[in-house]
Symmetry: C2
Amino acid sequence: MRESHIYDLLGSYNLKITPYISFAIDETPHIDFFPVVLKLESPKVVHKSDFGAVQLNINSYDELKNAKETIITNVSAKGILLDSDDRFLAAQMLSGIELYAGLVDDPIFGKTILFGKGGIELELYKDVCYIDIYADEEEIKRAINLTTISKIFHGFRGFEYDIEMAVELIHCVQKLSRDNPEIVELDFNPVILTNEGLKIVDARIKKGEVVVENLGSLRKNRPHFFTNERVALIGVSSDPTKVGYAIAHNALDFTGELFLVNAKGGELFGHTLYKNITEIVGDIDTAVIMIPSCFVVDTIKALIAKNIKNVIIISAGFKESGDFESENIIANLSQHYNFNVIGPNCLGYLESSKKLNATFGIGGLQGGELALLSQSGAVLSALMDKAYDAGIGFSHLVSCGNMVDLDFAQMIEMLNREESCKYISIYVEGIHQGKEFLRAIRESHKKIYIFKTGKSAQSQKAAFSHTGNLSGNYRMFKGLMESVGAKMEDNIEALLFNPFNEIKNICVVTNAGGPATILTDYIVDQGGTLYTLSDEERENLNSILPSNWSKNNPIDIIGDAMADRYEMALEIVSTFKEVDLVYVIITPQCMTDTLNIVKLCEREGAQKIYPILLGGHEMEEAQRYLRSKKIPFFKTLQSATSFL
Amino acid sequence: MRESHIYDLLGSYNLKITPYISFAIDETPHIDFFPVVLKLESPKVVHKSDFGAVQLNINSYDELKNAKETIITNVSAKGILLDSDDRFLAAQMLSGIELYAGLVDDPIFGKTILFGKGGIELELYKDVCYIDIYADEEEIKRAINLTTISKIFHGFRGFEYDIEMAVELIHCVQKLSRDNPEIVELDFNPVILTNEGLKIVDARIKKGEVVVENLGSLRKNRPHFFTNERVALIGVSSDPTKVGYAIAHNALDFTGELFLVNAKGGELFGHTLYKNITEIVGDIDTAVIMIPSCFVVDTIKALIAKNIKNVIIISAGFKESGDFESENIIANLSQHYNFNVIGPNCLGYLESSKKLNATFGIGGLQGGELALLSQSGAVLSALMDKAYDAGIGFSHLVSCGNMVDLDFAQMIEMLNREESCKYISIYVEGIHQGKEFLRAIRESHKKIYIFKTGKSAQSQKAAFSHTGNLSGNYRMFKGLMESVGAKMEDNIEALLFNPFNEIKNICVVTNAGGPATILTDYIVDQGGTLYTLSDEERENLNSILPSNWSKNNPIDIIGDAMADRYEMALEIVSTFKEVDLVYVIITPQCMTDTLNIVKLCEREGAQKIYPILLGGHEMEEAQRYLRSKKIPFFKTLQSATSFL
C-alpha cells in the first residue's frame, strides 16, 4: 500500500496522523507545516532508506526542492527511473516521546496488538504489551500498565498524559483490524505523544491471506465432563508394576459405580472383571482406557453403543510414536458422536467430590479447592508427590496428554461449573486456538495460574527486529495471559502453592542473620512485604529475647536459641494480626534442637508457618517428621519464596 | 556553577559540547547554529524548567527575541527581577540517539562514573553501567558492553558508531574527576551521538566537600595470614555441645604444632591443656580465641608478647551486642603491633594444605582449589554442609565475622599468594573501602565469584530519579563488580558449584519429556548450551533406544526406561567429546528403579554427571545413596541449573 493511501485509511478510523501531503513528481505542493520529511512513494522502491529515498529536516521550499533532486539522483544511481506514476510524500516532523503500536497475525493467538515504547528503543528494550483484538477497556488498560513506558500516564516526571489517549488508539486499531481481516501486519513507529493526542508519524501495513478468525469454532453442547456416575476402567491388571493395576487401585474409593474390564476376566480387589464392555448392563458415562494402542479405536466404537460421554485414553503409542491416523479417527468419532476425549498418552484424571482417582500417580491425596491441568504426565506426577508431602489437596486433576479433543478453553469452562473448584492451575507446553483460550480465561470466575515451557527455545529465535518476529513467542504468551487476567508463574511449584497464598505480610523468625538477609531479598524480589513491628510488639519481644536480638523483622533470636526460645517468639508473633505468613529459619548451630523446633510449626491458626531447614544431613530427622505430618517445608531460601 | 562556566571547564577536558554562546541580558549575540535552546543563567533560578526559564526550538533571531521576553516575563511573574549579572545561554539543539554520562560520590565506592541510555529512558529503563574512575580501557569497554544501548556500537540496525567514542568520553570524565576532587556530582543528559562524536547538550555539576580518596589507605606489610606453623586454640572445652570442643576436634589433624589452652588445665584428645598462654614455650603464630568476650582484650595483649601474627576471635558479644569499644581497642592493637585479626563473632577458618580446620562447622571436608570467604557464619556453615554432601573441597575457608581488621581486599591479595587456591568465592553482606576492593579484584590472578545480599532493601530505596540516588545500591555494586571482572551470582549455592563448572555443552538424558522441556528453558536462561547431536550420534542412540525416543537432545528415553536403558544411553553419551555436563532426569514412573539408575552416575570420566531426582519420598533411598557417595544431585530443575 502506498503510504498516502495508508494514511487515508488510518484517518478514516479516527487515527491521528501528522500533517502530510502527497504530490506528483513535477508538482510543487503547498506546505504550511515545516519542518517535514520527504519520502518517495513508488512501488519500485520498497526499502526507502536503503535507497536514499527519505530526506529529513526540510525547513523550506528551497530545501524541499533540493531534497527531491537528491532522492531522484539517489534512486537513479541504483538504476531506478521514476515516471509519472511515482509520487512524493511530505509529512511533518514532530518531536516528543516516541511510542509504538503494531498488529501481528500470530499462528496461535491470531490478530494481536502490540503497544509500547517506540523509536529505536522498541528493539533495544522490548517494552511492549500484547492486547487481543477482542480485549475490552479494562484488559487494554491492564496490558498497557504492564509496560514501563506506561509510567508517563501516571505522573512520571510530572507528565500529564492520559492513558485514555492510548486506549483510544488501541480501540481504533482493534476496529481497523476487525473490519479489515486482510491486514496481517501493521507498524506505527513512531507514534508521537503530543498534547493533542497520539500522532502517527510513520505507518506500514502488510496485507495477506484472510485467515478466518477461530473464535466460536469450538464444538458446542458437549456433555459436561465432570458428571460421570458409571465409570469403566478398561485394561485393569493384577500385576502391581502395571498402570492397569495402579489406576484400579487408586479408583477403588469412587462413590459411583465402577466397572473393571480385563479381556481374561477373573477378579481384582474384590471386583469381578468384565471380559468385554458389552457384558456391562446399561450405559457407561466414562471410560478409562489402558489397553495397547492398536485396540483403542475399536474399543471406543464399542463404547459409543453404550452412550459414552467421556473417554480418557491412558494408552501411549499415538501421535508421539508417529501414529497420527488413529488420533484423527478418534477425533472424528468424538465430534460425530459428541463425547469428550482426554489423552491419549496421559496419566488420567481425578475428581475429589466423587473420590475418583483415575490416575496412576500417587494415591491418598486429600481433597481440596485447586484444579490442576497438566500437559505433561511426569510433571503432574511430580506435582502430585509434592502436594502429597505438603498436604495440599485437589478438587480436580486432569492429565491432558496429546489433547486430541478437549482443550484448555473447554476444561476451564467446565471447571467454572464445578463448585468444589476455586482455583485453576495449568501446566502448558503449547496451545492451539489461542483466541478461545483467552476468551475462556476472560470469562472465568476462578483465578487462573499458568506455568509455560518453551520460553527459551522461542525467545532465542525471537529476533524482535521487526514485527513479524514478535509472534509465537513466550513473551507474547505471557503478555496476553497477564492482560487477560491470568497469573503467570516463573516456578512450577508455584502452581501448587500460589493459589493458597494471597500473602500480605510476612514475618521471619531466625537463629542466624545472614540467611535472613538473603531471604529478605528474595521476599522483596518476589513482591512480598516484610511486616513492620509496632513499638509494643518490639517491647513484647524484648521481654523474652536476649538483649542482642535484631530488634526488627526478620526477628533474629540469636544462634544459641533452643526450641523454648523459638516457642516464646512464635507465641508473640501469633498475636501479630496482620501477619499471614511466618518463615521459621533453622540453621545448624552448636546445640540447635531442630526436631523440637519444627514441631512448633504444627501450630494451628490464622498464620501459615513454613519452616526452612538449612544445612545438610543433620536436618533429615526433622524433615522426615514434617513429611509425616504433611507440613510444607523448604530446604532452600529460594524455593521458600518461589510462590510469593 | 553557571552553565557556560561548566561548558568552558568541559571543553578544557576535550569534552565536546554543542555550539553555545553566553550573552548579557541586553546583548544580541551572533548565532550561526539555529535551532537553539535558550536558557537563563542566573544564580537566582536553580530549577530553570519550573520557572519557565528554558525555551526550545528557536529558529531565528525574531524567535530568539520573543523567547528572551517570555523568560523575563515568566521569572518576574515568580517575583524574580533580573539584573546585569544575569545572562542568557543559547545552545544548539541536536537530534539523535540520547546517551547519558554522570559521576557520583558513593559512600562505599567513592567517585564512580555512570554511562548508558539518556533522555527520559534513563529513569525508565535504568540502562546504565558503572565505571571506577581508576578503570582502564579494558574495564571501561567491559562495563559499556553490559548495557543494552551498547548494541549501537556493535552494528545494531546498521549503526556504525565506534565504542571508542564512548571510551574517550569516559577517559575525559575520569581525568576531570581526578583533577577536580571537589566535583561530587555530574550529569550529562543528554549526550547526543553524532558522526563527529558524542556531544554534550546539557550539563550539571555539583561541587562539595573534598573527600580524600581512600585508595592506598590500607595497612602495608602485614604478616601473611596463611603462614602459621604454631597455632594456639584458646578456650577449648571437653563439653561436646561447646564451640571450644568442636574446634579442638576439627583441628586435630593440623600438620603444624597445636597448643590447646583451657584455664582449668587437664587433657583433651590426648593433648595436655595449657592453663595459660605464658606456659607455651616460644612464639605463637596464630591464636584462635573462644573465651568469653570480656577476657578477649587481655588475652590478645598476652599474645602480643608471643609475637602473634594472626588472631581469630570466635567469641561473640562485641559490636553486635553494642560493645564497640573493645573492637576499637583490638583494631588499634592490631595496627600498632602489626598482626592480623579475623572476627570477632565468627566461625573460624580452614587451611587445607596444613590440614587445619579451625572452624566449628562440619569436619571431614575434602581439600580443594576453592577459597570461600563469608560474612555470615550461618551461611558459611550451611555451605560447608552442602559442600560436604556434594564432595566439594576447599583450599581455604574464612568466616569474616565483624571484620574489625582484615578486609576482603587484603584477603584476596593473600589468597593470590597461595598456590593451592585457584578460585575465590565471597559471600558479602556489606563492604567498606570499595576502591580497595575493586583494586584487589582488578589485580587478582584468580577468578572471583560473589554473592551479595542487601539487594532489595537498597533497590527499594534507590529511586533512580536523579544521580544522587543511584549510589550505594546493589545495582552499582553488581555493575562495578562485573566491570572489574568478578562474576556476580544470583544464587548462593553457585558460590560452591560455579567455580568448577566452566560448562560448554550440556546433554540431558530423561525418562520424561515435560521436565526436560522445563530444564531446557532453565539451561538457556542461565546461558548454558544444549549440545546438538550429530547424525552419527543420533544413529547410535537409534540402535539402542525404542523407536519413539526424542531423536534429539534432551534425549528422552521414554517412561518405561529401567537402569539398563539409562546405562546404554549414558554409554553412548560418554563418547560425545564436546559434552562436559550430563543431567540425568529421573521421574517416578510405574517401574523406575531409581537406585540402580543413580548408581550409574558414579561413572568416572571427563563428563560431570548430575542426577536430578524429581518426585517425593520414593526418591529417598537413592538420595541417601548419593549422599553417602558424595555425588552432587538435585531435587528441583531450578536448583540444578542455578550455577550455570
